[in-house]
């Protein structure tokens, strides 16, 4: 246990990050402990090898080509497109579940055609969809408001803490609703859920202190009137 601490100190010493007192404590230990002394010599050699590798020449970029790329990208507005490759694994699982669920409904309706008769099941499904939407919007509002009110000069230093599980739940619920809504031919609602999906994914991938993305999220919420649209849909 004692040696483990000294092995860490060996590394910090080679980084030049030990105080004089810690350094002399380590030197004393190295004189007494053959194993740590060997470890010190070996770690030093490994670090020298890393130093040695720096002799490799770093190539130059094609600066002109890079600048052209940047300059044309800057002229365009920042694009935020759905990149399926960036979706977390659980999203694929959720999509698969939704697909199996939908398939079950189709097969079920073919297998038991009598269930299609009468307006009750369809109405019930619309009611539950509406309830789910209302509940989803209620859960979304505080999260989106938090980001919409973010100010670069506030004390939180670019850090907004939202529970990861809540975020994943919102993203999943949004995805399922978006899939379900697509058959209802409601483009405005569809568009709103698409926007929310984009925002939630940005929030999920956001790192603490990433102010530009935080500002982008804020702008997206405000410029696309997401909270206002949610209010409207809640009142309909």
């Amino acid at each position: 246990m004692r040696c483990k601490k000294f092995k860490e100190k060996i590394i910090l010493n080679l980084y030049g990050e030990l105080s004089e007192e810690e350094k002399s404590g380590l030197e004393r230990h190295l004189k007494e402990c053959a194993e740590c002394s060997r470890d010190f010599e070996y770690t030093k050699k490994v670090f020298q090898a890393v130093e040695y590798s720096k002799k490799e020449k770093t190539p130059e970029a094609n600066w002109e080509r890079a600048w052209k790329g940047i300059s044309s990208a800057v002229e365009e507005k920042p694009k935020r497109q759905l990149n399926l490759l960036l979706l977390p694994r659980w999203a694929y699982a959720a999509a698969a579940m939704a697909f199996v669920f939908a398939l079950g409904i189709i097969i079920g309706s073919l297998w038991f055609p009598t269930l299609k008769k009468g307006p009750l099941p369809q109405k019930a499904s619309l009611i539950s969809m509406d309830q789910s939407l209302q509940e989803h919007f209620e859960s979304l509002k505080p999260v989106l408001t938090e980001y919409a009110n973010y100010s670069p000069s506030d004390e939180r230093n670019g850090i907004i803490t939202i529970d990861e599980e809540i975020l994943e739940g919102l993203l999943l619920q949004n995805y399922l609703l978006k899939t379900a809504i697509s058959s209802q031919k409601n483009p405005a609602l569809q568009e709103l859920l698409e926007d929310v999906d984009l925002i939630l994914r940005e929030v999920t991938n956001l790192r603490n202190g990433d102010r530009p993305t935080l500002s982008l999220i804020k702008d997206t919420i405000n410029q696309r009137d997401i909270l206002f649209k949610i209010e409207i849909f809640q009142k309909i």
Partner: protein, 202 residues
């Protein structure tokens, strides 16, 4: 000297303000002043010039899009701000392209050009051997561990600076470094006895 720094800071502030107003010349100057730093960081991280150039473009594009929101008052200078974006872009890039990189077996460096004038074939082969060991080791690290190792050993930042750039505690940086050093020591096991040459300046 302090006066010179102040003049530089004032010039940089003026330049950023011009860039915030959409002045293309100012944007170009900010690019010129910082391009090498970002490119070298990305290159050391992904070890491929084309990928590093992609990261360079992504970093500056993201930074310039976010420039109107850049806040002079929060104490982060432009360069560290950009550097932080570069770090995030590099980590994201590697994460995004991990599968493709694994498939095409990147990080293979058949001919490593050297910084020194030495044309000794033995020297080149040693350098190649070491580089291969380090690349094998880097592949085994997580994206964050890899970045922390690069920032420490190749960018020569202190653990405190790394913690600031990576938005984590100094203790966490040290923990990651200890793990990475343990892994690299394992990678080089037996290497120095088989290759008994010294790492002298050649």
């Amino acid at each position: 000297m302090i006066e010179q720094i102040r003049v530089f800071e004032m010039n940089e502030e003026a330049l950023i303000r011009q860039a915030q107003d959409g002045d293309k010349e100012a944007l170009k100057m900010l690019f010129e002043d910082n391009k090498k730093k970002i490119f070298y960081l990305a290159y050391q991280y992904v070890h491929n010039a084309d990928d590093a150039e992609d990261i360079l473009q992504e970093t500056f594009t993201k930074a310039f899009h976010g420039l109107p929101k850049y806040d002079f008052q929060n104490g982060t200078g432009f360069s560290p701000w950009l550097y932080r974006i570069g770090i995030n872009c590099s980590i994201d890039y590697l994460r995004r392209n991990k599968r493709a990189r694994e498939t095409r077996g990147i990080d293979d460096f058949p001919n490593i050009p050297s910084n020194s004038q030495n044309s000794d074939p033995e020297y080149s082969s040693r350098l190649k051997e070491i580089r291969e060991k380090i690349d094998e080791f880097l592949k085994k690290l997580t994206e964050r561990q890899r970045m922390i190792f690069i920032l420490k050993h190749y960018q020569e930042l202190s653990t405190k600076e790394i913690a600031e750039y990576m938005n984590c505690s100094e203790g966490s940086v040290k923990k990651q470094l200890f793990r990475a050093v343990k892994a690299i020591k394992k990678q080089f096991k037996g290497f120095f006895t088989e290759n008994s040459y010294e790492m002298q300046e050649i």
